[in-house]
Assembly symmetry: D2
Homo-oligomer: 352 residues x 4
Amino acid sequence: MNAFGKNFRITVFGESHGPAIGVVLDGVPAGMPLSEADFEADLARRRSGAKGTTPRRESDTPRIVSGAYRGHTTGAPLAILFRNEDARSDDYAATTDHPRPSHADLTAAQKFHGHNDPRGGGHFSGRLTLTLVAAGVVAKKILAARDNAIRRDVHSDPAPSGNNPASGNPAPPIRISSEIVEIGGSRDKTLFEATIAGAAKEGDSVGGVIECRAAGVPTGLGEPFFDSVESVLSHLMFSIPGVKGVEFGSGFAGAALKGSQNNDAIIDALGTTATNNAGGIVGGITGGGDIVVRIAVKPTASIAKPQATYNFASGEIEPLTIRGRHDTCIALRAAVVAEAALAIVLADLIRH
Amino acid sequence: MNAFGKNFRITVFGESHGPAIGVVLDGVPAGMPLSEADFEADLARRRSGAKGTTPRRESDTPRIVSGAYRGHTTGAPLAILFRNEDARSDDYAATTDHPRPSHADLTAAQKFHGHNDPRGGGHFSGRLTLTLVAAGVVAKKILAARDNAIRRDVHSDPAPSGNNPASGNPAPPIRISSEIVEIGGSRDKTLFEATIAGAAKEGDSVGGVIECRAAGVPTGLGEPFFDSVESVLSHLMFSIPGVKGVEFGSGFAGAALKGSQNNDAIIDALGTTATNNAGGIVGGITGGGDIVVRIAVKPTASIAKPQATYNFASGEIEPLTIRGRHDTCIALRAAVVAEAALAIVLADLIRH
Amino acid sequence: MNAFGKNFRITVFGESHGPAIGVVLDGVPAGMPLSEADFEADLARRRSGAKGTTPRRESDTPRIVSGAYRGHTTGAPLAILFRNEDARSDDYAATTDHPRPSHADLTAAQKFHGHNDPRGGGHFSGRLTLTLVAAGVVAKKILAARDNAIRRDVHSDPAPSGNNPASGNPAPPIRISSEIVEIGGSRDKTLFEATIAGAAKEGDSVGGVIECRAAGVPTGLGEPFFDSVESVLSHLMFSIPGVKGVEFGSGFAGAALKGSQNNDAIIDALGTTATNNAGGIVGGITGGGDIVVRIAVKPTASIAKPQATYNFASGEIEPLTIRGRHDTCIALRAAVVAEAALAIVLADLIRH
Amino acid sequence: MNAFGKNFRITVFGESHGPAIGVVLDGVPAGMPLSEADFEADLARRRSGAKGTTPRRESDTPRIVSGAYRGHTTGAPLAILFRNEDARSDDYAATTDHPRPSHADLTAAQKFHGHNDPRGGGHFSGRLTLTLVAAGVVAKKILAARDNAIRRDVHSDPAPSGNNPASGNPAPPIRISSEIVEIGGSRDKTLFEATIAGAAKEGDSVGGVIECRAAGVPTGLGEPFFDSVESVLSHLMFSIPGVKGVEFGSGFAGAALKGSQNNDAIIDALGTTATNNAGGIVGGITGGGDIVVRIAVKPTASIAKPQATYNFASGEIEPLTIRGRHDTCIALRAAVVAEAALAIVLADLIRH
């Protein structure tokens, strides 16, 4: 439901136009330095204002309600609240009668028998991803704080055939990054801005593909049979509104290759591979290579361009023109959200 | 770990060359007719012997150890065992020293510090998918048995704007199907057989893409924020060995479209849409359209063709020729497994 | 960790002297009327001020932050916050060095390596039970709203031997109540007030036993093998600070009886029993009789009377006089908390 | 449902008179020595044959079906099967029509609408506790194997006020034991045998109280708010058929004391306490003292003595004489089961 994770668990709540949204983080280690300022960098990356994103402005200031004391985490659940400040509910008055195509307006109403909060997508709003970004900030701190301890544990027993790949070498830190690799069907980055501007001018929207990467990941993460790294990571990635595809390493393109092309030859006793078509995960378990995951983000469903769609009040198919403020390309803001998801999953898996 | 599901929960165990593999199914409704013969049709679809699949032959006879009495389920956990009969462990003696590229041999050894059962992939073997197929048979029965009741519940409250889409119309049954839509990079089915034969001749392997579909699915399945239908379904799909990509509806191709192209216009009070780029799922919730999911299956990692890869015993990169019996294209057998996964997830979601 | 429940799930957070405490409720059905005033009656029963309870006064006003819209629940998670208003942190300055015996001061510091928030017990404070009472209010509404539907489902199939106990009779509502049955070792209620007053005068405290009862519970709740009603209910009861014993029906006294004395003879086709030594639960499953559960609440650990106990700063055993405001008998306030726990568990079990 | 635990998870299945019962253990560390002979000592303690226990004889030979290879655990799930050999189903033919008072016959039939396997209690049979004992054997091995590592982790940060209780002292091993402390209402052990013999002669049964103890438990186990050690342990204890009460430390008797009597004064920097009324658990967290838990086991419900109880076939209250082979006092055999439960919970908590 609204909780994810086993040992590092996040619970989210809130609606786009309610008083506040928030997240509760359980399983945060005690004694990590944490202040509200730590959230600013990632929140700024998600914040509206850039070209192609909605003009709605939120201060997005986190308020730590519990779980921190004198600048450190306490081991108790960390609750973080964000007030909703700039919500204009009038923009959405008609969505109940004339639901937006490919938006949760209708399915939410079907699921909750018309009792859902329809304003701005309510609980289904992309605004909720703010809580994921906040959780990601804490997850990244966990990964940084525990890194050396973790690798020591994972490599503490001899590797197969008596080799111990980690001996003597301090582990490199886990580094998580993201990149927008495709917008509107093109992988040429010089075209991205013009593609978005063109769609915005038409009152339309565009989709994109984001690639996330984690380097320095210890071997042995992931649990057979059902908690493969791919399973757990895709679970969270598909919770991000608008994500309709997830692939690892060579992914769908790899399915077009032969085994001799797609296999990653092992080249040393550390298990390093010559290529990384596996995206760092073999048999569901990390093998030490970079985790590489790509997500397909659909074009924003809310577009200004009129759409002929059913009106439940009139019983007719009628043009719908959506007037609210919306991103032309939500993939732009989803990159830091996807990074957060990757960090959250690693923080959960690494603490077994 | 080795359990999946909340209200319909499956737990698997076993190794490729151990005495037996099995599955425990919890949350099976009492009173459903069930016999060992019910499993035959789907098991036959997965069974080895077809062109492009391994020549290893297993009778794959299920034995119901608990949870059924006098031909009906009892409500207690259903435990189903399969003996391993035709395992030739000698074929795999060398995999510990000279692990197969892109196979779990090495990552399993890293994770379990060399204590894993290496024979035939052990617990990571594709043989474990036999248990998923068995679970899928029971899941399909649950979907069939509960169908009418379920739709009545879901539609019991008025839909938005006072329309009640379900009134008076008995729900159609949920129908799950699968199709191999791509082999070796081609979507032309007339080429599939030749592509596989060509790879087999070279001692190589090919990948493929499987499309699964569920028709007649009630609206309102899926749980915000983290148990979207895409999240739960991809979680299980990525547990199937060899799956490296999952997409819904227009998926990655949809990320290349504009919103006006990818949006699915609503055309009637039932929420029917003119197109189905959403793959039946909007906001993570089913909307009544067909669920459409595609999975990318990588080419079989175990190939006869020699591969230059690290030998932990010698400390050198050496050619590895894999002699065991392997599928040229595991996608052929994975189709019924993917169907099972779809049925298992629906049986779990539908029983909330 | 800080979440409980499967289909009706509660997540709590907050510290006694932090800015706020709160609870997130997931799995709340959409469309239930709910306002902040609905919480007042049960919160008043828990509130401080009565004889034998702490003189600390909190307005305890709930603020619904999400999950309700226009006076109804929406199906999204319900988040409820309570501000902490009257915390006097100075009272607790010394507890880190000179921890209170039988209080979480020391074990919390050991668990969290000294990083826990020590003020007023922090996250271990009895103040957190406020969130349980709030969750209980919602749980009681769920039980009231769903009652008829539930009994219809449970009894929809024929009972053994063709009898259908429920046919034609509308189910009575589920009624949850609690009673303090023992204070300071006596079951004579006329002595309770004097016992508490006597202990208070000495700067001491007293324990008590609370009996909770649920009438009108449908048959068939509880899940073998590990989620017996006793298992799930004791799990939550033992989360209430100070509870050290839980028994059902004849409980510990029943262990002193013979089978012929303790067995509950069945007297009609409804499964009604002549006695209720089982406390309404047989084989872990409800049988239609009243659920009867008793909890032992220890005497308040924080007492004014000096106690000779170790001081970590001085390294000596020294007298500790606790000056904060504390209940003489926490059992008085725990009754409504235990009721809430019973309602929460039933709301979780009943929705399978 | 039929699974328990988070990091060390057990799943049970089987019926008393079906072909086999079994347990799947997930989260077992790789590389622990394990053979079928390791189970014999604890299984023998549970086995029938002693005075006061049923004359039914089972060889109770465990068969490890998966998860072990060449005498060591592999990290994959451990599946253990026990065949049912000496079941006489005829003894139970009438229980459906004339259900045994205070036995799961009727509630199981109500829950599963008459589809449950009624033979010998089916899935509700005490025979299932065999699987708990087997899981307990593995849990005890985990506790033994990990003990030093665990205490090092728990104490790795400085304790409050700069003391580090564990420095330099190797941790003592965790020792789990059990004792029957009451039979038929008496705590005088010299009377136990005669009490049981007397009840047996009358065709009646007696209850008892078992005390379990774990010594050498590290501090800091247990998770606020809902996974207190008492919560998790009582959850599993109440899964043992016939348990109707659970208390920790002074328990119900402690509720009759004053705070000054029940509080455990701290006497040194290790947190050692002068008394142990807390049963080793304060604020839900272990403090280093012995865990002390007592469980009330009801008198065996199945008695030979005739009982007047409702017959669903005749519609009359009629005498029921139970002819099967039953324990006079199930507490005798439950002691090793309760020990197993304590070990299972510690193995689960300790691996966080």
